[in-house]
């Protein structure tokens, strides 16, 4: 019996490179699914640099965000608890377990593995349609741990998919290549690749600049015959909302749903759902 038993589908968001927008994309996937009416859980297994709680404006010092230890596992945080259907969006992260926001988790591998096992199997999610897992950069302890734990689950095996995130730069592409090898070696099914930070539209003259080069994502997808899910530009408004925290902004959920990239994301989500079968 574990917290994963009542979860229908699991999506793991991966990238070999740091700072390409794994957490942002994870947030976008989760919000899009939530907006489509699904019950969504979001798990952040980045132990050393958890960003998800901040992006949602979940403050561990507030009463609503306290994690309780129960016989069935740790209780995740209900993020949009004020809305009518309160428990449709749940969140869990290392950041919620730390005493202070500035505490560093200075752990070597084995300790991280134990923590990830606990986060994966010891959370009382309840019934979920989708569990989205945000990962740290690289192909090391955390990733091996996530794979090992999830694969032990008969149930999880069939419903497990990965989304890869990259920026258009060659530097990032090279790291994602390594992540693809990791997925192949661990026979992890990749549902598609998203190219993030693809161009920036100048707010003054609407000229689009490719800050981080261009086209790398499509090239990579072709090379490895991975479905290319789409291209997302750098979105100032989205960045500003996530930096403040969605629940800290007035009508945060509505405002973020109206940003340019969230609109583009509808198409990406549809592709993910279509390709799942």
């Amino acid at each position: 019996m574990s917290g994963l038993d009542k979860i229908k589908r699991i999506i793991v968001v991966l990238s070999g490179k740091g700072g390409v927008g794994k957490s942002t994309v994870t947030t976008q996937v989760a919000l899009s699914l939530y907006n489509s009416g699904y019950r969504v859980g979001l798990l952040d297994v980045d132990l050393c640099g958890p960003s998800i709680p901040k992006m949602f404006g979940v403050d561990k010092n507030s009463k609503e965000s306290v994690v309780y230890e129960t016989p069935e596992g740790m209780t995740p945080v209900d993020v949009f608890a004020t809305s009518s259907d309160s428990s449709r969006f749940k969140l869990m992260s290392m950041a919620l377990l730390l005493d202070s926001e500035n505490d560093a988790v200075i752990w070597r591998g084995p300790r991280k593995v134990a923590m990830i096992q606990r986060l994966l199997t010891g959370v009382k999610w309840g019934e979920l349609d989708y569990l989205i897992i945000d990962t740290p950069p690289g192909t090391s302890d955390e990733h091996i741990a996530v794979m090992t734990v999830l694969k032990q689950h008969e149930h999880a095996k069939e419903f497990l998919r990965a989304i890869l995130v990259t920026t258009p730069q060659m530097l990032s592409i090279n790291d994602v290549r390594r992540e693809i090898t990791f997925c192949h070696k661990t026979s992890f099914h990749i549902i598609g690749l998203i190219e993030n930070m693809s161009g920036y539209v100048c707010p003054h003259c609407s000229e689009c600049t490719n800050i981080f080069a261009q086209g790398g994502g499509t090239l990579l997808a072709e090379q490895y015959s991975i479905p290319f899910l789409g291209r997302l530009p750098i979105d100032n408004r989205l960045n500003a909302i996530l930096d403040q925290g969605i629940t800290k902004v007035d009508n945060g959920l509505e405002t973020i749903s109206e940003t340019e990239t969230m609109k583009l994301f509808k198409n990406i989500i549809n592709q993910i759902l279509d390709r799942w079968e």
Binding site: G16, K17, G18, G19, V20, S23, C48, G49, S51, K54, M55, L97, L98, D99, E101, N102, D103, A104, V105, I106, W107, R108, G109, P110, R111, K112, A114, P136, P137, G138, T139, S140, D141, T167, Q169, M170, L171, N174, R177, R178, I180, T181, F182, K185, Y200, C202, H204, C205, E207, T209, N210, I211, F212, A213, N236, N239, A240, L242, D243, Q244
Partner: protein, 323 residues
Amino acid sequence: MENQTNNDVPADAPHACPGTTSTLAGRVSACAGCPNQSVCSSGEPRRIDPAIVEIGQRLSSVKNIILVLSGKGGVGKTTVAVILARALARNPQLRIALLDIDICGPSVPRALGVENEQVHSSGSGWSPVYVTENLCAMSVGFLLTSLEQAVIWKGPRKDNMIKQFLLDVDWGEGELDYLIVDTPPGTSDEHLSVVNYLKNVSSLSGCILVTTPQEISLQDVRKEVSFVKQANINVLGIVENMSIFKCGKCHKESTIFPRHDGLRQLCETNNYELLSSIPIDPYIAKCCDDGEDLFELHSDSSTAKVYLNLAEKIQAKCQLKKE
């Protein structure tokens, strides 16, 4: 919550474990019944790893060692490390080396334009790859046979690799003026290893913390600050990367990543100097992708000047540390 700070207290240790390197190890009441009691009381864990001593000898000809750190990924650690190395290497009198300890995602070879090079080993150790006459580099990337090859290693193997890099690389004859160490994101195995091996090396000048302006990034940098404090590493200063964007068409500035007071506060509370604010510049991304030298192609650009200024400040800081 579990104890997060005491590195020598094993995760599964009894509640009041004094730590394996404590002089009380194996002797306090909490140790009774612990399977490691005899090992701890023998004093074995307190012995200094002989590798640390050897590393000290190997690196004795290096004048300044600088770590480039950031809690967050993708903020430009490699970019800053590479361009800083190139900026320093513009002075032909100086010998610069760049060591990439990002084992799972080595980007230094690409950013220096030496992606397809291989490392050669000789009697005196591994020879690094030379980019120019006075600039050389070492990275896991040089040891891989193809770009696709993933290094799917757990902690102990990464630790070993880093030890080997510090111990077995032959940085060439004579003195090395600057050894810049590029690190992966986070505060984990690689960081603990490098800090552990370098803690007795007197030429460790300190670290540069790289961040982008957002709160999301600063949050991780604060964690790195607490790591740096615990590890007792000198902070040379903070570099703010991707600060503003200047449109190539209308030349107006805009902030891509939200900026606010957080960085200034971080600097003030810890008494760190903000060494420079580097703008977002498509040339930089292009240069790093193509492995070109920014100072050759765009020597007049404002970004190049910002980097040269940074290099000067770093040199001054290292000098100051010495005196």
